[in-house]
């Protein structure tokens, strides 16, 4: 039977919303599922994790070295914990998971499966390659299975559980070679891009950060999160954490607006799971219209304010 260890990503005492989706993947694999919280004091995060349906127990690994989620600090601790009989170690497919999981796999001497999007069995999964333009079904070799879970492919489990919380100890040492300096987090009152039901994204067509206000205003009117194409981020209109796509955030909102975005395959990779895609572009031949559920050819600077007033 599988014994699965899910690594809890957290910040400021809050469990990352992606962990409930990793739980969904773990539940599909089946077996016993534990969540590990590495923190200075993980009690608050553990209490949130204990509520997730399907969790057998939550392990808190309290250690002063865990004050920042550094791969070099976490990977040896996770590898040691995994050695206590776990068959699977799962991480959310976030920048945290992508940073820590491969280092953990290397410590365990096993390959890693990135971006699990469907579970066929305890050892067989689907994952996207080529920016999601092909899906491969893979079979992992024997040994501990380390994987990251593509969050847009799973629905969060319910918060109906009441798992036991236990302290666990592993040797943890802060590596002398890595020091956390600072995190400049974008604080926003808007819905989080990765969990928002509606997302409005703007592209290069916006032309400046001042003009991006058109996108923000419309998003605020309909209560949407805000995203952007790489071109809009590269041009400095908006910060990097708003990039949607192959190498940015992969999202699955019910409603997605692509405004002044051409629809490059790398951008589309991030929105394949959106239920309804609306495209607004002045070029009738823009590739975005090939994937849009509803398309409108027009100048965004007149269309978007009008849409805002009518929704």
């Amino acid at each position: 039977m599988s014994k699965i260890l899910v690594i809890a990503e957290h910040a400021d005492g809050k469990l990352n919303a992606g962990v409930a989706k990793v739980l969904a993947a773990a539940t599909q694999i089946g077996g016993e599922v534990d969540i590990a919280v590495f923190a200075v004091d993980g009690a608050a995060v553990a209490a949130q994790a204990a509520k997730l349906a399907g969790v057998a127990k939550v392990l808190t690994i309290n250690n002063a070295v865990n004050d920042h989620p550094l791969a070099a600090t976490l990977a040896p601790q996770i590898a040691e914990l995994a050695g206590k009989g776990y068959t699977h170690v799962l991480f959310p497919g976030t920048t945290f998971g992508k940073d820590v999981a491969p280092r953990t796999a290397a410590k365990l001497g096993v390959p890693q499966i990135s971006d699990v999007m469907a579970v066929h069995s305890a050892t067989s999964f689907d994952r996207p390659v080529y920016a999601g333009n092909a899906i491969v079904t893979v079979e992992a070799p024997a040994g501990t299975l380390v994987a990251t879970v593509r969050l847009a492919s799973f629905n969060a489990v319910a918060e109906t559980g009441s798992a036991a919380v236990e302290a666990a100890t592993v040797a943890g040492a802060a590596p002398a070679h890595t020091r956390f300096v600072k995190l400049e987090a974008q604080k926003s009152a808007r819905p989080d891009l990765q969990s928002a039901a509606k997302v409005v994204s703007g592209g290069r067509a916006l032309g400046s950060s001042e003009n991006f206000k058109v996108i923000f205003d419309f998003a605020d009117k309909i209560g949407a999160g805000v995203g952007a194409s790489r071109a809009a981020v590269d041009s400095g209109y908006v910060p990097n954490d708003m990039q949607v796509g192959q190498t940015g955030k992969i999202i699955a909102p019910s409603l997605y607006f692509a405004i002044g975005i051409s629809g490059a395959i790398q951008h589309l990779a991030g929105i394949k799971d959106a239920k309804v895609i609306v495209a607004i572009n002045k070029d009738a031949d823009a590739p975005i219209f090939e994937v849009a559920d509803i398309g409108l050819v027009g100048d965004l600077f007149t269309v978007v304010p009008e849409l805002q007033s009518k929704m």
Partner: protein, 248 residues
């Protein structure tokens, strides 16, 4: 100070991938290949560090079959001072690539590995982190900015929440994100000059590396296609279409 840059040959980012009808993979024959774009960014960063006098030697390394030599030529045209080809015709697991890179890193006494954060074919995003784990050295992934002073690197990382700054002591692994730099346009004289530099060949066996147990690909399928949408002419029609879907 020596830096290693790992480079991979991949289907060009402009190519629209076709899945073979029998599900055995994607069509790669007769399709344009180039250096993985993230590796170009890694190469560019190494060359800039060399131009600033922070490093003295850049060793480009690739692992794979004969065709990968063209990627090493591109690396040399960027300004790599040496190129190492680890010849292997099997499917290379990231862990196998990481073992080979770690072996070369040690053998060469390198201080820095700069790798692309992911290759745009398998999109695995693993190799750099694995090398750091195997060597027990510092890692700074998804770098948007790198400053090297003495044996310290200050790296600004692009993370989900925003920008994280880490300070790492060398030796270290840095993986390049999109905004680290804009790779230069290669000039013909540099491309010609690169053709005359000898490429050093080696094998996994020579490096003392055993291949990782393979993750088997059982089949390859195209993603579910989206059904054809509708085009509307006015904002009113757009609002009506959204209302019809219960979205406005």
């Amino acid at each position: 100070m020596k830096a290693i840059v790992s480079v991979k040959r991949a289907v060009d980012y402009n190519v629209r991938i076709q899945v073979k009808p029998d599900g055995s993979g994607v069509v790669t024959e007769g399709v344009k290949h180039s250096m993985n774009p993230f590796d170009e960014i890694a190469m560019e960063e190494a060359v800039r560090l060399k131009e600033k006098g922070k490093i003295t030697e850049i060793i480009a390394v690739t692992i794979g079959g004969a065709k990968n030599e063209e990627t090493l030529r591109t690396a040399l045209a960027f300004g790599a001072t040496r190129a190492i080809h680890v010849k292997d015709d099997g499917g290379i697991e990231p862990l196998t690539a990481a073992r080979a890179l770690a072996a070369i890193f040690k053998k060469e006494g390198a201080q820095l590995l700069i790798a692309g954060k992911q290759a745009i074919d398998d999109d695995a995003n693993q190799t750099g982190q694995m090398v750091a784990g195997l060597l027990d050295i510092a890692q700074a992934t998804f770098a948007g900015k790198v400053d090297i002073e003495g044996n310290k690197a200050t790296v600004v990382r692009e993370v989900d929440a925003g920008l994280e700054t880490l300070e790492v002591d060398l030796p270290a692994v840095i993986t390049a994100d999109l905004r680290l730099n804009e790779p230069r346009y290669l000039k013909l004289p540099d491309i010609m000059k690169a053709k005359r530099i000898a490429i050093e060949a080696t094998t996994l066996a020579e490096l003392g590396v055993t291949a990782a147990p393979p993750v088997k690909t059982l089949k390859t399928t195209p993603p579910p296609s989206r059904s054809k949408g509708v085009m509307v002419k006015t904002v009113d029609e757009l609002v009506a279409a959204l209302k019809a879907k219960g979205l406005a």
